[in-house]
């Protein structure tokens, strides 16, 4: 008897879904590289105000006639043609990038999961209508919509209370990205809800009288998360890239310190001060690559059968 209890207590706990996925993920080199890059960006964003040698809005170098200086001991990555310290703006840019990525994908996830979840769970006519609605959003060219809205909005708000909202342009871009990037998430959510709706444990939950809200939120949603997380990780990279493109075209938020803005300000001086463009370009590349590799690694970790 004593021995039995002892062995029982020593029963090795088998790893759960998340832990198993983590084991698989850790073996995936590309995925780990992605995780490393993403972690780096997050850390940079968090510590930017403490380590940046200059304020991101500090143009004093220009007054000193030190604009477009190549990297040196004071300006580690040189200065750009506006006299900004490239390195400081690079660090602060990480905050904007993450804000855009996370903000847009939070909005997109909320809309996507709600619409896709309802479609998948309800099925029938509701499903048809919601999915056609999602497809309608997929065919609208987001980019043009953003450019148009940003410009129109910029005119409309002049003289109203909305003018006082800080970074209104950036917020508009985030919201618009969120409002247009949800269809892939909705589709995945629908597929997962459809699959899980018929899972036996869901039926069992119904059989014990679980209210429908809890069936959806506590039983179906958590089991759908692995697939959704992959899409969200991929979407963050996409949203950052989209914001950069908008900014690069000059439709960005002039008050925000973003990599796209730096590219926009400096691309004409590419030959004179290449560092001012290469630095934010490189940072953008690393960030987006990081999120894409992370998403790839997560796919492999959550759905090992997909990898052949």
């Amino acid at each position: 008897m004593a021995i039995e209890t002892a062995t029982l207590n020593a029963v090795q706990r088998a790893p759960g879904v998340w832990r198993q996925s983590w084991y698989r993920f850790r073996r995936n080199r590309a995925g780990m590289l992605g995780l490393g890059l993403v972690t780096l960006v997050v850390v940079v964003a968090l510590i930017a105000p403490f380590v940046a040698p200059f304020e991101p809005t500090d143009q004093s170098a220009m007054l000193r006639g030190a604009a477009r200086r190549p990297p040196d001991a004071i300006h580690w990555l040189g200065t750009d043609r506006n006299g900004y310290d490239v390195f400081s703006r690079l660090l602060y840019g990480a905050r904007t990038a993450l804000l855009v990525g996370l903000g847009a994908m939070t909005i997109a996830s909320l809309i996507g999961v709600i619409i896709g979840g309802i479609a998948g769970y309800a099925g029938g006519m509701t499903d048809e209508l919601l999915m056609r609605f999602a497809e309608f959003f997929m065919v609208i060219p987001v980019f043009i919509v953003i450019l148009a809205v940003v410009r129109l909005f910029g005119i409309v708000v002049v003289g109203t209370w909305m003018e006082d909202i800080p970074n209104l342009n950036l917020l508009t871009i985030i919201v618009l990205l969120g409002c247009f990037e949800w269809p892939p998430i909705a589709r995945m959510a629908r597929a997962e809800f459809l699959r899980l709706r018929n899972a036996e444990f869901v039926e069992a939950a119904v059989c014990i009288g679980t209210p429908r809200r809890d069936i959806l939120v506590r039983h179906i949603l958590p089991n759908a998360l692995p697939s959704l997380i992959v899409l969200v990780a991929l979407g963050i990279g996409g949203a950052i890239l989209a914001e950069t493109m908008v900014s690069f075209l000059g439709f960005g938020d002039p008050k925000a310190v973003s990599w796209g803005q730096s590219l926009y300000f400096n691309y004409e001086a590419l030959k004179v001060a290449p560092w001012a463009v290469l630095a934010p370009g490189g940072a953008l590349f690393c960030t987006v690559l990081g999120f894409n590799l992370l998403a790839d690694g997560l796919t492999d970790a959550f759905n090992p059968r997909l990898r052949q």
Binding site: T5, A14, F201, I208, T210
Partner: protein
């Protein structure tokens, strides 16, 4: 045909029947693209207090669908088209969804076929089971967990306190089914529906689980509906047996009678086609295992008259024209067969 099977009850049928559940003329139809499939087409049975009703039949005979219909859980495209499900005097088919939700798990509980898929993989055993009490009895988490530990012990899980924090994937198949049983018993239901509770388990575990179910049923004096296609399981567990074929009831009798004196030709054919350990089916004896010729009918377009007539060895011309009506031929024994004295209605 004397049966060598040991029956759970060889006692004569109790005529002082005290029905807990009565299913009357239940109809469940599937509305498919090809037409209406009459999966359950006028089924009657009743379950008395503290007895086990075994529902047997082959795949597609409507046994699972009829038990889901009791809980009002038939999945679309199926719809319950008519009949009554009287549970403790209330017609469940007339209940509101809210009343049904309050009843499921509390007064009628269900044990599922596959324990591997009927537990949510992301919640610990304790979280999953205590949830029920928190719904139905507004128990606090602490109270609920105490009850879970008690029940886990009751269903034969060793060290229940530690199991509480374990996840379904950390348990073996038999253990998971014990958890499934504990889940069904959380609120002391008066009726438990067990849909093939042992089909997904290996044979040695099957025996243990059946023993546990029989034991718990006797201890709590609850009623049980045991849906299965395994004659061995019903022989061991059921007080009374209902045999279903193609969405209709063929025969209902107490377990002893079904095995010792089956009346309906389908019941007889079913029993004859069970392999027997005291007979050899190969070698010099050259005796093959009898089977029922033909296939179950397509319920999209069921045969007229008796559903079994085209496979029935005793069919007569009337069987094609008349639908037999369930008729009591002895106390507690009813049959739907024109050759056994059932009246028929023109199909």
């Amino acid at each position: 045909m004397p049966s060598t099977l040991v029956c759970a009850s060889d006692a004569p049928a109790m005529n002082t029947a005290d029905p807990l559940l009565e299913v009357r003329d239940l109809k469940v139809h599937f509305f498919t693209r090809d037409g209406v499939v009459r999966a359950v087409d006028g089924v009657d049975y009743s379950v008395n207090r503290a007895e086990t009703l075994g529902i047997v039949g082959e795949s597609g005979s409507g046994k699972t669908v009829s038990s889901l219909a009791m809980l009002r859980l038939v999945p679309p495209p199926a719809r319950t088209m008519g009949g009554q499900v009287l549970f403790e005097g209330e017609d469940l088919l007339a209940h509101t969804p809210k009343q049904m939700a309050a009843l499921r798990g509390r007064r009628i509980a269900m044990i599922f076929q596959n324990p591997a898929t009927s537990l949510n993989p992301i919640y610990s055993v304790g979280a999953q089971l205590s949830e029920i009490l928190m719904w139905h009895e507004k128990a606090s988490r602490r109270q609920a967990e105490e009850r879970v530990v008690e029940l886990l012990g009751l269903v034969g899980i060793s060290d229940p306190g530690a199991r509480l924090r374990q996840f379904p994937h950390e348990l073996s198949g038999g253990m998971k089914q014990r958890v499934g049983i504990a889940r069904a018993l959380m609120c002391n239901p008066s009726l438990v529906l067990a849909d093939e509770p042992t089909t997904a388990l290996d044979v040695t575990i099957q025996a243990q689980i059946l023993e546990l179910l029989a034991d718990l049923q006797a201890r709590f004096r609850m009623s049980m509906v045991l849906v299965t296609h395994d004659m061995g399981v019903v022989a061991r567990m059921a007080t009374r047996i209902t045999v279903m074929y193609a969405g209709r009831v063929c025969e209902t009798a107490d377990a002893g009678t079904i095995f010792s004196a089956p009346q309906h030709p389908y019941t007889r054919a079913l029993l004859d086609s069970m392999p027997r350990i005291d007979q050899s089916y190969s070698g010099s004896a050259r005796k093959t295992l009898p089977t029922i010729a033909g296939r179950p009918p397509n319920l999209l377009n069921p045969p007229p008259g008796c559903r079994f007539h085209d496979r029935c060895p005793e069919a007569m011309p009337e069987c094609r024209k008349m639908m037999p009506v369930e008729t009591t031929i002895a106390p507690g024994h009813s049959v739907s067969c024109l050759r056994r004295g059932s009246t028929g209605v023109a199909a």
